[in-house]
Symmetry: C2
Subunit: 136 residues, 2 copies
DNA sequence: TATTGTTATACTCTATAACTATA
DNA sequence: TATAGTTATAGAGTATAACAATA
């Protein structure tokens, strides 16, 4: 049974396959893929407002609210008003958030490796580079 | 401003970028990306039931109903009971569906080429091959 | 009993608009 | 005026369960 070779089909199903791998990998950490992405950005160089985080991920600011709400409820991140501009919420990892991010990062690395397992090592590197060239 | 290098992020946004290109390309044909995909499968070797089409695309049979409804309303496909198994709907292109698919295919080819325009020709071929290896 | 199509339903993700507080 | 966060709402897209017709 022949499968479509269209880029749209291939990209969609690549995404699906990766999600099927990262989902279970993140479950022990109480995170889904979107929450992990937010956590990883917050764990990077900061300080970042909710809007900053959303911009890097392509997530609308209205969607960021619920996302940060969830992470705050799990005590993984904290909000505090920006000292120089009190309209902004600076979002930061808690100690627990830092530990969770560390473990979750390893789990996602493993899931990505499994996703790429069908490729030679050089092919996998190339694939990631080409994808980055297309998106970034 | 550094962007995430995660596969999940890259694949999601690659998908978004492609959709932004194929959407307008298909608009003159009155189709969106999902409808085009269905039309293309129906236009392939058949005969195919709704379930067959859904299986190739990873679309649930309950979602196929509305999709085929829409294409039938536009007179692009027709349903008829399978002669040997009347539980099945054989879906086929109408003459108008065949013409629409032809034009839409060229439009999508052009959109994909634009999506890949940032890559050398060899890189683009390689990218598609690697993606196929990961999904197929 | 199992399969195909159908309908209804719910859930997630996303997009938009309006409101508030701050600048 | 414009910006950041918030809330409410509506629209896709998908998944599930139940039902009818047929095998």
């Amino acid at each position: 049974m022949s499968r479509p070779r269209r880029l749209g089909y291939l990209l969609k199903h690549a995404n699906l396959r990766l999600t099927e791998l990262t989902g279970p990998a993140l479950e022990p950490y109480g995170l889904d893929g979107r929450e992990f992405a937010v956590l990883a950005v917050i764990g990077g160089p900061g300080p970042l407002s909710q809007l900053d985080v959303g911009r890097r991920l392509g997530v609308d600011r209205s969607s960021m609210v619920g996302l940060v709400d969830g992470l705050e409820r799990k005590r993984l991140v904290g909000r505090r008003p920006h000292p120089d501009d009190r309209r902004k919420n600076v979002v930061e990892l808690t100690e627990r958030g830092r530990e969770t991010l560390e473990g979750a990062t390893r789990a996602v690395d493993a899931a990505e490796a499994e996703f790429l397992a069908g490729l030679e090592e050089g092919e996998a590197r190339l694939f990631r580079a080409l994808l980055g060239k297309l998106v970034g």
